[in-house]
Chain length 234, copies 2
């Protein structure tokens, strides 16, 4: 936790925040903060700043906060991600948040098992908690927006072309002939499930205006491919 | 498992391999292979090729193998990695192997807890199994070499300069002023522990001939930073 994050409801006065949960525990036990210490803080979906520790006790930590800094800039990327196996979804969403994607769209695909969509591990509560952890790790405050596209064809035919009207669309698949080159502006980056998008899906994504690219002869796990590609959008 | 890997001792004749363990299980249950099918195979630390399924039964799978292909080229990178928390080490070594690093040197650092070195999760057995899984995922056969540098100062003073005599050395730390730019040749890439190398360590690495670089204002977890940086060595 490189930045302590809070919500509007954590304020007890206009500039004081009281934390009573895992964040208070982290400040006490990991940061070993004492009254007078200054911590990096941030208001979720708002500004960053610093928080002076006013009081620490067994049940809470009170900070006087000054929110005077902009969060770090986002990478200009919308991640269009075939819904991963639920136990991997948290890790991938965490990494994508750390790396600063603006938006994550979870997409259905032939190789996404139907049961994945029902898993509590991919509900809003779990994925938002992964995002908040990712923000606290990297020092950001702005949550990526999260969308679910549970029907592949209607999304790709009706919504994706609009999304691509002002963005470059790239789809990673091992048999494309072009290597990855970083586009200059906003990008929609599509990453398939383990085993990849099926040929019909790749065709539909290309028809919608995306371009295929390959990462080379190595077939990467989704959780490796996501940071390996996002890292190139510095 | 995108390539079924085996060792010299799995051969029953000069071109036949018999598998009886998790690989046979994978071929039966996940690949659902039948006699006559052709699988991607490879001999560890040797060539890649194809394997025709000759026989499948409950206890084993027999393949006739032809090893006629070179493995994919490695990335020109030696990863000098502060020993990660043991439960993360496997995942990071797996990802680095998938991404094709040539060598991994596990390095001590002030912020590496002493107990990490004693964990069975970072012994050769565990890390080689992570590497073999990584190879099977990405379709490679050549294991990265693995070295342990349990004493920071002697390694950095006595061994690192030799390593750097024919390689560019880069150390990731958040407060460096230069952004990452991919060197043209062989590279030693140093990545610190969670919390980073301490200033004394950064200084010693720079004295040994490494150059600092920053990944920007975001502080990444080690398991995110490793693929995010390695991805740029395409």
């Amino acid at each position: 936790m490189n930045r302590v994050l809070f919500n509007a409801q954590d304020f007890v006065t206009s500039d004081r925040v009281r934390l009573c949960d895992y964040r208070a525990d982290h400040i006490r036990r990991i940061l070993r903060a004492a009254p007078g210490d200054c911590l990096k803080v941030g208001l979720i979906n708002d500004r960053c700043g610093s928080g002076e520790v006013l009081e620490i006790n067994q049940s809470s930590v009170t900070l006087r906060v000054t929110l005077d800094q902009a969060p770090p800039p986002k990478r200009p990327v919308t991640l269009l991600l075939a819904l991963p196996r639920p136990k991997m979804a948290r890790r991938i969403v965490h990494a994508a948040t750390e790396l600063g994607v603006k938006k994550i769209i979870l997409l259905n695909s032939y190789r996404v098992e139907k049961s994945f969509w029902q898993s509590p591990l991919v509900d809003d509560t779990h994925l938002f908690s992964a995002m908040v952890e990712g923000l606290a790790q990297c020092g950001d405050t702005i949550l990526p927006t999260l969308q679910r596209a549970r029907l592949f064809k209607p999304f790709v035919e009706d919504e994706l072309p609009t999304l691509l009207s002002q963005r470059t669309g790239l789809v990673a698949h091992p048999y494309a002939s072009s290597a990855f080159t970083k586009p200059s502006g906003e990008t929609v980056l599509a990453i398939g499930p383990e085993g990849g998008f099926i040929p019909y899906e790749v065709e539909k994504l290309l028809e919608a205006g995306m371009q295929g690219f390959t990462l080379g002869p190595r077939i990467l796990k989704v959780e490796t491919a996501v940071p390996a590609i996002l890292g190139q959008f510095c």
